[in-house]
Symmetry: D2
Subunit: 362 residues, 4 copies
């Protein structure tokens, strides 16, 4: 790939789960060279391997992928004191409170691609999904102008919202949307930082509530699908009803979705709209891009989290059971599966960064 796309990148929040996933996503990346690791004061000054070693000597490396040994000796710096002089781009994987403090500091100098929710609901901040709404990146210029930043903050959506919007976008475009009812079956790894969900709470069980999740899904879906009006996003006028639950599945958010369309469409037409969506984006061949944004399966027993979450490296949203929904006007229902720690987290954020870089926006 052309050297014009090369960037020196820093990962902030590098010791947590999302940060570790960035390290995996960036390993051997053809464009992005990892030059700095930042974390909280507690980890600062340690080599990375030491920073993720617990007091009892065990490792807190949480990814299934092996620990990238070449980073073992890389020093971890304190996030609040990250020196950006040799950094072109920051990946932020910190919790929302920390993000609110840290991301503006970085954005003064360089673009910040973030998995945190801190800035998602600001007027001048887009929620970007690779292949879906690049036009919303127009707001990044407004951020720079109004906030006096050289960089910007570009967050991706919540890991439950991302699969939903990827499936709703082609339906909105082809048939229009009137209403959405969604019930999620969310994976354990979506509960974020250690220790996450306690085994005693989820064994032989379903937990019917995830604080704040439903509001995020509803709000972010409308914003991502919204239209750009000058340098503002007009959220889509779409009632979205989410019920978010936790199930005993390691990875892969599964969702049962009922949609009321503006114009009637058969299941076959819906499948066609879904399956053909995003080809112009996937044809770009970005380093982290799947070969297809959406895969529609015909086998009624699919998708299943364990069998389908890793399709195309976890970057493809898998849809099944597309059927008429007679309870809604022009109703269609389906199930979908989105890998919450791949497309829904750091690897998705990496793909977003690639798109912005390739388009000359970062």
């Amino acid at each position: 790939m052309s050297s014009e796309f090369r960037r020196r990148v820093a990962v902030v929040g590098a010791t947590g789960l999302a940060g570790q996933q960035f390290l995996v996503a960036l390993a051997d990346h053809p464009w992005f060279e990892l030059v700095a690791l930042a974390a909280s004061e507690r980890s600062a000054g340690k080599p990375y391997a030491a920073a993720i070693t617990r007091s009892d000597g065990s490792s807190s490396w949480l990814c299934d992928e092996p620990f990238p040994q070449r980073l073992a000796e890389m020093p971890v710096v304190e996030a609040a004191r990250l020196d950006l002089s040799g950094v072109d781009l920051v990946f932020s994987a910190v919790e929302s409170d920390a993000a609110r403090q840290l991301e503006p500091i970085y954005a003064e100098e360089v673009p910040v691609i973030s998995t945190a929710s801190a800035f998602r609901y600001e007027d001048d901040v887009p929620i970007l999904v690779p292949g879906l709404n690049l036009e919303h990146a127009a707001l990044l210029k407004r951020q720079q102008r109004e906030r006096g930043w050289k960089g910007f903050v570009a967050p991706q959506p919540n890991c439950t919202a991302i699969g939903l919007v990827i499936v709703l976008a082609p339906l909105a475009r082809a048939f229009g949307l009137r209403a959405v009812v969604m019930t999620s079956f969310q994976a354990l790894s979506g509960a974020g930082k250690s220790p996450g969900v306690a085994a005693m709470d989820i064994l032989d069980n379903v937990v019917p509530y995830i604080p704040g999740e439903e509001e995020k899904v509803e709000k972010e879906t409308r914003k991502v699908l919204g239209s750009l009006a000058g340098e503002r996003i007009e959220p889509l006028d779409l009632p979205v009803s989410a019920t978010c639950t936790r199930v005993n599945v390691r990875d892969g958010h599964f969702e049962s979705v009922s949609v009321s369309l503006e114009r009637a469409a058969s299941p076959a037409e819906v499948c066609e709209a879904l399956g053909s969506f995003g080809r112009e984006f996937t044809d770009l061949g970005l380093p982290s891009s799947p070969s297809e944004l959406i895969r529609v399966l015909e086998d009624p027993y699919r998708p299943q989290p364990r069998l389908d979450r890793d399709l195309n490296g976890g970057m493809t949203t898998v849809v099944g059971r597309v059927r008429e929904d007679r309870a809604l006007p022009h109703g269609i229902k389906l199930v979908l599966l989105s890998h919450n720690t791949k497309m829904g987290a750091s690897k998705g954020a990496t793909l977003l960064a690639e798109h912005l870089v390739q388009q000359g926006l970062a």
Copy 2:
């Protein structure tokens, strides 16, 4: 209790899971005396303990409750040759195909309370839910008259439908129903007879399809909630959209339900309607009756299958997270939990029998 309610009962399909649950439900029953056990030809002639012993000597007793030792020596007779001369009532727990053959034979002589789906969709057969639609029992007379039977066949609904209709019934009565969208998280024990769901298929997984289940839920909901017109049931004109899935939970069907009401109601009004429902029925104090048909919980983390399924012996439908649903006109959403092998199976059928007996209908 008055001796007028005493009945000598037989359990058909006694060696299977549902049949075993009947034996548990009937143990020490104050009204019903178990006088006969019937099963397929393979088990016929054996003492019950031997009939549920596998060739390797292990037991195929599947209930959590201990095996009722006093039945160990009771002989199992062939279902097709069950002598009804000393039997007042039959509980049928056979598969649907067998039910179609056997239940009419028994119904010629005595009432048959059935967990099977075989006759649920016949014009002259009600689907009865204790405390909900006793008026539909008027069809039992029509069965007797038109089919020339002394008894009748009275099936209960599918184990996924029963929790849903119990919750919908008070809403239909108080506010009217326009549409229902439901996603189920069904337990392993609902998969019926051995071996059921394979552990390898459900560990770390969700299975998005249960053949025939969605159609049953949609059809049975409309029939149970329908109105009696002479000796016919007029199904409720209600679009019901079900997505039925299997999760790795032992017992307890959990459902996420969105309802469009005819008349607007606040979540508080809905909770009131649900919580006060069925008092006249529970006040009857029938032997297998819960003290409340529906319990509404305020803790947003509840109900959970493991924590709440056994409330009142698994006979109460537990509701939580009652909220406005902005995606539907006059929308309300909630989650519910119904114990699929208690209220949803043999113990629910036993309660139904008690109600019919107490009302002089069986």
Copy 3:
């Protein structure tokens, strides 16, 4: 029961899991009247219901048994300031560090029955198991004399050791013991206080290490089975080799045990020794006592944690698969199941207190 056994009791560490289990074990207890609840400074001054309510309003009640409503308004006092003037006996359910500070303070005045390990290895402290080694209680006098206490500290063993020693005791008595090799499959609830084992760590997995556990099992087994020499316990000279693992089971520690006996014994003789053990103790009919200390099952598929852990309220150790072990001299092998949060924790400690009270020792 005679009023001579009535005691006013306090539970210290009342808000944690073990403390909650004491509240369950003591509910409606015929002898023990719960008069005080103590916990850390953070909970002090709150009514108990408020003390176990999280900041988001949800409850941290962790037991399967329902929350005892009559305790809702009972005030929680700070453990370090517990007023013992109206208290006859203290149940201690705090972590080991806190136990080391707090238990001596209480023991100055009253007997302390403890689930903590803090004092288990002191020379003048017995590790008592109901029905096994009451003679070791002679050390309690020594504690009083040497430490100048009116009360004493009486700990029960670790939850993994207790099932093992209950099974080894009759074998030691009948046949003598030369060596023990044990591999445990420990339940999630044994990991103690919230949040315990993370679901992501144990789903589809086995964890082969529990820090400190193997040493506890080895040391405590020798001490419990030791002999009283004056006012000292001579540990049994028995090599015990433990491998302690965690599996994805909610309750019930399962153990695979191989024993080398001093004198050869057939599996039938071993079963006889096990099944008949402890009758003189169970015949006492103490309030929390099981009707049998050990149950031996013949079905090779048993015991299983889910099916057998609740036998006799979780107070019976269940043994199965008693066979010859040809790898050891006079070898016998078996599997056992012990309910780690019943006999292995607060309910076992309650039974221990009952025994001490009934024997006039507390």
Copy 4:
């Protein structure tokens, strides 16, 4: 690789789980060209894709690896009528009863590498483990001579035995073995053909018995570790005591092993013997060979089935927690993990075939 190693191979039992795993192991194999698929009469005559399609249209493909599309149209022939004219080698993945009938038929013409137990205990049949006991292949000549076969039957051991013998072999060689006590935690996929273990039986549970498994482990361990005496194998005179259990883990047999050595060895010496074992074999660089037969981990929390089973494609036995075992003379204990459907099944059998071919024995 040299064309002298090219072989045309058939897979018998191709539609079952082990057979499917052979198809995965043989996909793009540099030496072995898959030329025939055989199965029972029921599948015969169908294209492979149709043969693994259930009556409801869903697929019975059970591997995690995707279905090899290029085999979709390959016809399945009846196992009893497999034409061996263009076949150089047969991989047999049928159940033991079928193996007893079929394998001699094939062995008349060509070598048969088998995962079945049917012939493992015959005097003239070795149980071969790649890298361990190639000298036992001398028995293959005796088979040919005495039975009048052009080929032979070469079975691999049981999937629980294989990890154990791989770990015991270097210990036997370096220190001698006196006795072995092993407790297994076996994965669900080891239960073989569909439907395997029922989810209801293993959720929140451990099953302490797997019929026949312990006998196989004990017998096969002695035979694999035995010495060749002429054309006979003298089993190692080693008491092996196995307790085999099932846990709720998808793949990877975990074992807790205590060994009494002939000569004392420190844990460090044992680790050295284990870690250096089999280099001459792995240096051959056979197509399915791992780069190391045994990996010893120092982290006491490892190996864990989910984290470590896929090391080197599931072909390396992973050992951890090597410690002194004071209960046994010259005792050492450790835990090990072996991938039961990779090294323990078809991929291990493929590696065995590679070794025999490379050595000019097949």
